[in-house]
Symmetry: C2
Subunit: 206 residues, 2 copies
DNA sequence: CTCTTCTCGTACAGTGGTGTTCGAGTTAGA
DNA sequence: TCTAACTCGAACACCACTGTACGAGAAGAG
């Protein structure tokens, strides 16, 4: 028994849609694999199927019983990670002063990035670019909407492409995660630093 | 003959230091391998030794005749790429208004990032973190010095860690390279966007 | 309790990379 | 021209990983 317990799954495992409902132990296995996948891949994006199976406390063959290939598992892990994160992000209050809303959104997003870590990076190497794009669509739309609203109010700058401003946000969060992982930045300082930096880029034209 | 000519090397290949000087064809091979390494790894960071050998127009065994392992080659490629870039960066005028100096430095750095691309990313996966750090020391020192000077003049903000401000510069440049490669940002727009963004972060406190 | 589903160890084939050895052929350099 | 240095293809051992097959056994569902 390589791992004592794969951490209890918070959300119920996905139902198999078409066919007969899965047996309870199968649903438990899937949840454990997905959980382990998020945790292991966040630390080591090139982890093997055996690594993930071991972390889930499950046989390697059992993983293949539920996911036909490594890419298939990766897709499922990323989808679940993003979905979970998106649920949290959906609760962020984006009304009121766009600057304050941006700060709230960044704070919540940072917590998700810190949790998910490099899972997206793992996916980038295996999944199609378009596929990754589609999975990120929901969180990205939220940011874009906030940017657009702030621009209408004259709060956010208009002299740089919107896509660039959005990507600055992503880059600084991902970059902060790297800095924290490397020990060059205190975890507690990360969110304020990201907030101050993104706010500066989005609001300080000239 | 997979590649017609591995592009003429601008700088002379490194001398073998201790032992007898290498024969001319050996020096040519090493230069071709290093050149090919930069170009191939910039596009595909996980390229194999065979890929690099083919791009260099050289047998795979010949690569091993000069570099004992993949990590060894990677180290040499990164060292050369950074050294070449650093020569260019050393010519940038960093005197005068720190803001203008920063813009000049960013413009020159961006050209190097665009050229070297993902070579550093390739190294990150294989080389020790400390080793990568040491290789980046020279370019990083230049940025840090400029930041320090600007701070003394009251031009650059002091309310965020210097290390963070430096990393923002790196992140936005690397991020811009990704955006350009993905076709989400025009290459011509990259440098102005980076400049404006970094300047905003470095100067716009509050 | 019984049938069905699922687990899981072992074993296997296949793939794609690394690094080495050998020997024949080529090339630089004195 | 002669020799030492270098190239290079082929072949090899080795390793880590992926994905498949089989069969015994455990566990859920009714």
């Amino acid at each position: 028994m390589p791992s004592p317990s794969p951490s209890p799954s918070s959300s119920p495992p996905p139902s198999p849609a078409g066919s007969r409902p899965l047996r309870a132990d199968a649903r438990r296995s899937i949840a454990a694999i997905l959980d382990a996948g998020i945790h292991v891949l966040a630390v080591r994006p090139d982890a093997s199927m055996a690594d993930i199976a071991a972390a889930a406390g499950v046989g390697r063959v059992t993983v293949y019983a539920h996911f036909s290939s490594r890419a298939d598992l990766l897709r499922a892990v990323v989808a679940r990670a993003i979905t979970e994160g998106d649920v949290v992000l959906a609760q962020v209050d984006l009304s009121g002063d766009p600057r304050a809303a941006l700060e709230r959104l960044i704070l919540a997003s940072w917590e998700q990035i810190a949790r998910i870590g490099a899972v997206a990076a793992a996916a980038a190497g295996v999944l199609e670019a378009e596929e990754v794009r589609r999975l990120h669509a929901a969180p990205a739309a939220r940011v874009e909407a906030l940017l657009a609203r702030g621009r209408e109010l004259g709060v956010f700058r208009e002299d740089l492409p919107a896509a660039w401003l959005v990507s600055v946000l992503h880059q600084l969060m991902q970059g902060a995660a790297v800095e924290v992982a490397a020990g060059r930045l205190e975890a507690a300082q990360a969110a304020p630093a990201i907030s101050a930096s993104v706010l500066a880029v989005w609001t300080c034209a000239r």
